[in-house]
Symmetry: C2
Subunit: 408 residues, 2 copies
Amino acid sequence: MTEGPLSGLRILELGHFVAAPFATRLLGDLGAEIIKIEPPAGDPVRQWGARHNGHAPWWSVHARNKRCIALDLKRPEARDIVLGLVRHCDALVENFRPGQLEKLGLGAAALKVARPDLVIARVSGYGQDGPYRDRAAFGVIGEAIGGLRHLTDHPPGTTDLPPVRVGVSLGDSVAGIYAALGVVAALWRRDRRQGPPGPGAEVDVALTESVFSLLEGALPEYGTLGTVRQPAGGGIATAAPTNAYRARDGIWVLIAANSEPLFRRLATLMQQPGLLEDPRFAGNQARVAHVAELDARIGAWAAGFDGATLEGMLAEADIPSTRAFTVADCADDPQFRARAMVREVEDPLHGTVLHPGMVPRIDGAVPPPRSTGPVIGADTDAVLGELLGLPPERLAALAADGVLRRGG
Amino acid sequence: MTEGPLSGLRILELGHFVAAPFATRLLGDLGAEIIKIEPPAGDPVRQWGARHNGHAPWWSVHARNKRCIALDLKRPEARDIVLGLVRHCDALVENFRPGQLEKLGLGAAALKVARPDLVIARVSGYGQDGPYRDRAAFGVIGEAIGGLRHLTDHPPGTTDLPPVRVGVSLGDSVAGIYAALGVVAALWRRDRRQGPPGPGAEVDVALTESVFSLLEGALPEYGTLGTVRQPAGGGIATAAPTNAYRARDGIWVLIAANSEPLFRRLATLMQQPGLLEDPRFAGNQARVAHVAELDARIGAWAAGFDGATLEGMLAEADIPSTRAFTVADCADDPQFRARAMVREVEDPLHGTVLHPGMVPRIDGAVPPPRSTGPVIGADTDAVLGELLGLPPERLAALAADGVLRRGG
């Protein structure tokens, strides 16, 4: 089994829900050892969504490559255990509400006493300072403040339906990736061979800002020209034709034919050479100006075929296209399968579970998970024994006292 | 001015459009020196979207902290210059179609001869191997294959309108963040103090896989239970009420009141205590089952107020809520301003430009950009002089011969 590039690092997660746990999942995929601290009742994600064998299948993936220990952080003994673990860790990733860790006696100052060169990554809704710092973080609110929700909509006047949610916890996930990036960047500075050992760091990632970072040129365009970017529905405001068109059987098929050669190929495939002579569709700019008519023409044509037929015809004509994949389509996709982006993994809690692979892939390696998400407290004994030398009697006493929870 | 954590690294970008240039923009924000190689006609993004003073305002941001040199990579002399630069670089980030760099004599083997411990990050539509490897990468196609497009839609049967595009080049941007993460992870392994110097690496990031990585529990749920996640429009399939509701003046206001205390506060604010006694709305599960009726009630109430009034009332009642921010709202937001997430930057090509800040923030620092996106070839002379020792006469001859382009 290939070791990942971050092999040798040990990272403590004080996370829950999505953002911080996703950050450590990525770091664990890259080879770091992850120790996750949960409350005795477990991370709420253990119960999110549909359950199988009493457990959320998501947990199998979300907590893979993690050693899970359960502590009641309100207890001073638990606080001391955390600080003891921090001494053995390179980084800590957390997503409590700003100020919460300080209340538990686990603020940055206390953590740095335990481990002066610790890298601390803090994920929050709005960031660790500023006037919104203390607001509760809700993903859908943060995504809207980040400017994305306004754009996931049909053009103004098209429909009375609300702008859609992206459909996943986008802000949390992107914040998690940024937190992973920040952790590794700070560790590179700390650990690099050249020069004296570097300092630790505090990494501050806001969900709102993570979403806002995705807006491309919208901010500089607004600043220089005063233009406010508006939603473009299934299309792109500056290119045509590119949209989703519904096949006879209801399947949505994406067609991106917004270059001259591609548009010619599409018109030929549609057996509508008139499209190429129509001045309304001559060149991208004209097509954008008449995109509604053009999309209607393509849509009427697409509606004459089943999705699979349409996909085949478009592929044959070498026009970028695809059905809108459901997760079932993803699971069956030959490319995802070939690159182990979808793979069967054995999980003691579930049997066989489909796991997504690892992004980014390093040196072509597609290592299987070292472990799947375990039960609450599964690794309490092992981790506290190995790193802090707590003997079984002491662990039993702390468990009886409600300071920690042992798995199994 | 604070140096970023990656100060001391030099990274070569052979990128265009969004993904690879976004990766190096993030690495540059974190302090790395970035050298971007463009064709003599420039990266097409220079002309994307609206223009101001003849330049895309986006360029100011997209190429900030980058030194831009222009080379015709089809010329063998240009190839030798690239290999000469690679000797002085820690990493290279590219997003050509797989195989294209090899055709130019700049494949991984040639790059490693020049710099054996180089970290090479390759961003593509589908990855560097597998049956789809050679397909052209189109963002909207990759996002659909990644399973996201299916989810950015209203529930089946709600409307004939197509599923919307997220509204930004999401797949490219997320692939760019992953590429940055992969580069830094590989550099940590290469440069860490402990043990002998490490090897370089090849980092392989696919747009489709980057999008697919955002699907949370959808894949393991499908694998264990056979459930195929479906779109939920403006809401969330497992929580209610949380949606966007239209105010009297057309502003969409997000309200997330999907917990018992929040729902009670909302019903009180709406002066509809009956909502709390209605068995259809008793508990999250019942509310999810009757979400259409519930959303209609909230929507009818919201439509009685202007957006700003509604926002104020909801904030007063401490209910998570916000208007769907346009980029103009983002630009004015006190939190974004307080954290320098929106800031005025002087740009020689534009005057004052609004730039987004840096994610992640390290040690509280919010350094202004060291430079804004320059003209084509702006740094050709300086970079090739400094790193390769090319004298002005030689540069002039290469320019006259069309091998390179010098800035204006």
